[in-house]
């Protein structure tokens, strides 16, 4: 818990940074962390792959934007409505795909991601097609529009820190033991009375809801939407973030998101070829740092330190 306290203090301190570029990056990190944490609960802790997580993020964004635009609902309400709907979609998808395992599950979730993305592009009347949606309502607090990085920052990080706390509590609760036993061995989990498919559905539902909520914040913060950020590439990017974080490691995921987001800025000159570098990164991390880059670097540092000590002795 002291970590969360210290981290919150750090985030509050960073709010005072006089640099919009940095603040913008931090907001992006907060929103992506929420999605990546959900994926980590699903993949790392419960052992189920999802290659279509961007779809939940996108559905949350488009859903909340459309509800507020078409039904005239306040964004503060539409975001919760959209999150609830996407949670339902996550649960139903789980009902459909969790009869599959391994590669087949990966393919099915990938297909879900592709279908949703194609929907964003092709349903012109609803989503505006490739041009996207303009004039998505902006959040307001007491008549003030949250239209700058500095103003959206408390909302984004408040939600993100809440997600971190919830995720942390969940994995350390008895339910977390259930999740870990399902991840390790479904046959054993079932023999211990655990309803394996129900648990998987619940976790997918939860992680879909978190991604959707982050997507909603994103939509009402930017004020416009286009399909591109929600393509399969983003799903893969989330996967890379979770992998770098070490899959089942909440703070590791935060590190993974920050690492990939900052790397993304450095890779801007490469244009579309950045995907190649993400791919390479994923391979390197999986092969050399199966417990995540953070863990790997810490281990390396430790052995270097003890090596130095040994040399001195």
């Amino acid at each position: 818990m002291w970590r969360i306290g210290a981290f919150t203090l750090l985030i509050v301190a960073l709010w005072f940074v006089e640099n919009n570029y940095v603040l913008n990056l931090l907001v992006v990190i907060a929103l992506q962390t929420m999605s990546a944490l959900g994926l980590s609960l699903l993949m790392g802790y419960t052992g189920q792959i999802s290659l279509g997580h961007a779809a939940f993020y996108g559905l949350g964004a488009y859903g909340s934007a459309l509800i507020s635009m078409r039904l005239g609902l306040n964004p503060w309400l539409s975001i919760f409505a959209a999150t609830a709907i996407v949670a339902g979609i996550g649960w139903s998808l789980g009902w459909l795909v969790f009869r599959l395992r391994g590669h087949h599950l990966a393919m099915a979730t990938l297909a879900f991601g592709v279908i949703v993305y194609v929907g964003f592009v092709e349903l012109h009347d609803l989503t505006g097609g490739p041009n996207g949606l303009q004039d998505v309502p902006i959040f307001t607090v007491l008549g003030t529009f949250l239209d700058s990085d500095r103003l959206i920052y408390p909302l984004a990080w408040g939600a993100c820190i809440l997600t971190i706390v919830l995720a942390h509590n969940l994995v350390h609760s008895p339910k977390g033991l259930s999740m870990r036993s399902v991840a390790e061995n479904e046959r054993v989990a079932a023999s211990l009375g655990q309803d394996v498919s129900a648990l998987k559905r619940q976790i997918l539902m939860l992680s879909a809801a978190w991604a959707a909520f982050a997507g909603g914040i994103w939509a009402h913060y930017l004020g416009y939407l286009s399909p591109n950020p929600f393509d399969v590439g983003f799903s893969i990017k989330l996967l890379v973030m979770v992998a770098i974080g070490g899959f089942a490691n909440i703070w590791g995921v935060l590190f993974g998101v920050a690492f990939v987001t900052i790397l993304g800025q450095l890779l801007k000159p490469f244009g579309f070829y950045d995907v190649v570098i993400y791919g390479l990164l994923l391979v390197i991390v999986m092969v050399f740092f199966p417990n995540g880059l953070l863990d790997g670097l810490v281990t390396l540092a430790r052995s270097a330190v003890s090596g130095l000590r040994g040399a001195r002795a």
Binding site: L166, L170, K175, R187
Partner: protein, 547 residues
């Protein structure tokens, strides 16, 4: 048998996988607070029955009632919630959890803790966790593992892993505990501890049904024994009666292969055969379980050597270790002039050791011809990468020669060369497995349970083929549960029990030796390590006229 309503009642249960009937109209009952052993040779259907009881496999027909309630269609987690808990043959601990967490994981489902409430860092999840922890410590106390509660489960030695598996099953609130081979891989001290624990469970109002190959455990624990063979209950009753039953003895030792006549009068002895394979002081461990224990054996060129013993004795492990699939924990494997320790499996094939694995392991979607050609892969590959695309003429000729040899041995494979391997019958599949192993032109052919699941005539046919191969100069290492069939064609044999050689000698001598039936069905060994003489059941088993 006690009067009253049985706790568990199984009747008419049939399970088939594809064409294979694993359980055939099985009826079993277990009374409250009984300790019942379920025994039978490899492939008898014991684990399948356990899976049916635990809800992991749904039967094709028949009923299972627990406390008068039908459970045969319920999924595993519902069956568990009703009070049936199980352990697994391979223990299946949750490796990344601590000892205590493994037990706690067993209790979570019963608490009914929801997802939403679990995300609170206070209140119900904390209370539930405290209760689970307390319960876990209690169950760990029952199995005597309190000292190791905080250690990672993965580092426990074999005996304690089994005990942890039992504690975990108890934590689910099970009243009927199904144990799948609780004694497998345990040493004598660990077995004694296990037996104590199981008796203590019964004193705590639990009912036990256990599958076991280790007859010393069965002999000390079971109040009643049910014997399965080929999916049917062939005997049931008090331990000593069951052990004397001729059907049981035959089920364990198998029938003679009746390949007589083909057997040459001059059985070769190791003295006049140059050693081809020399295994010295070999030990193998599976995550703590000692599977082979300081085992030594030699095979001379041109011999058929049989390795017999009960399930779990380490026979298959021996073959897999020689074939390079399993790393050694000690000792050496010498083949011709070289040492095979640490050599990769495909190189071992290249060195001249072919294997027809247990369960055949064919490529079911490939044709018979393709399966055979793949058996030749190492040779093709050794001739250079290009040969995978275009075989040189020399290679093609060599392949054709090898194919011809196989087709001469097994004409049925020639008839069916275009058929996919998955559609072959059991016997044809076994022939293909042997044929595929022969395609690499091995000097040593290893066979793992070639008679498994086959009709006696087919077994005879295959055994006769092995004799032919031997006469053509091939050396054969044959692992068999069907000891009688194996001893009939072998020159020499080794009897394995608990990863050790307990007897060896010429096949003819061993065929009449009580050491064999002792290795399969004996439980006197536990009380008295020297094989005691004059045990009537053993003599009945050993005399060929007993069937």
């Amino acid at each position: 048998m006690k009067a009253g309503h049985p706790l568990l009642e199984v009747s008419g249960v049939t399970v088939s996988f594809g064409g294979l009937v694993a359980l055939d109209n099985v009826g079993v009952h277990v009374d409250e607070r009984e300790i019942v052993a379920l025994i039978g040779p490899n492939g008898a259907g014991k684990t399948t029955l356990l899976n049916v009881l635990a809800g992991a496999t749904a039967p094709n027909s028949g009923t299972v009632s627990f406390r008068g309630r039908r459970i045969e269609r319920l999924p595993a987690h519902r069956v568990n919630a009703l009070g049936i808990a199980r352990t697994f043959q391979s223990v299946e601990l949750l490796q990344r959890l601590s000892v205590r967490e493994n037990v706690m994981a067993g209790g979570v489902a019963r608490t009914g803790l929801g997802l939403g409430v679990s995300m609170l860092g206070f209140g119900p999840p904390k209370a539930v966790e405290a209760r689970l922890r307390e319960q876990a410590d209690e169950f760990l106390g029952i199995v005597g593992l309190s000292q190791r509660a905080d250690e990672p489960a993965a580092i426990l030695p074999a005996g304690q892993q089994r005990l942890l598996g039992i504690a975990r099953a108890l934590a689910t609130g099970g009243e009927l505990i199904l144990l799948d081979e609780p004694g497998a891989g345990l040493n004598d001290i660990e077995k004694t501890e296990l037996i104590d624990v199981i008796r203590r469970l019964r004193d705590n109002h639990r009912t036990i049904l256990f599958v076991e190959h280790d007859m010393s455990v069965v002999g000390q624990l079971a109040e009643r024994i049910v014997v399965l063979d080929r999916g049917r209950v062939i005997a049931e009753g008090l331990p000593d009666d069951v052990r004397r039953s001729p059907e049981v003895i035959e089920a364990y030792l198998g029938q003679p292969a009746a390949a007589a006549g083909a057997r040459p009068a001059t059985a070769r002895t190791p003295a006049d055969a140059r050693p081809l394979l020399n295994v010295a002081n070999l030990s193998v461990r599976y995550s703590g379980l000692l599977a082979l224990d300081d085992l030594s054996l030699t095979i001379g060129t041109g011999e058929i050597v049989a390795v017999v013993g009960a399930n779990g004795a380490g026979k298959s492990t021996l073959l897999k270790t020689i074939a390079g699939f399993v790393p050694t924990a000690g000792g050496t494997i010498g083949f011709e002039e070289r040492t095979l320790n640490g050599v990769r499996a495909e190189e071992i094939v290249g060195a001249g050791i072919g294997m027809a694995p247990e369960g055949r392991e064919l490529f079911p979607t490939l044709s018979v011809m393709d399966n055979l050609t793949l058996g030749n892969y190492t040779r093709i590959r050794a001739a250079g990468f290009v040969n995978l695309l275009f075989r040189s003429r020399r290679l093609q000729q060599q392949l054709d020669r090898q194919l011809q040899t196989v087709f001469e041995l097994f004409p049925v494979l020639l008839e069916r060369r275009g058929q996919s391997a998955g559609t072959l019958s059991g016997g044809q599949g076994q022939m293909l497995a042997i044929g595929r192993a022969l395609m690499s032109a091995p000097k040593l052919l290893m066979l793992d349970e070639p008679s498994l699941g086959l009709a006696p005539q087919v077994v005879s046919q295959i055994m006769a083929t092995l004799l032919r191969l031997r006469d053509d100069g091939l050396t054969i290492l044959l692992v068999e549960q069907n000891a009688r069939a194996a001893l009939e064609i072998a020159d020499r044999a080794y009897v394995l029990a608990a990863g050790k050689v307990v007897a060896s000698g010429s096949a003819a001598e061993l065929a009449g030796d009580k050491a064999i039936s002792e290795a399969y069905l004996g439980w006197e060994g536990a009380r008295d390590t020297a094989l005691s003489a004059g045990e009537p059941a053993v003599e009945a088993a050993a005399s060929p006229g007993s069937r």
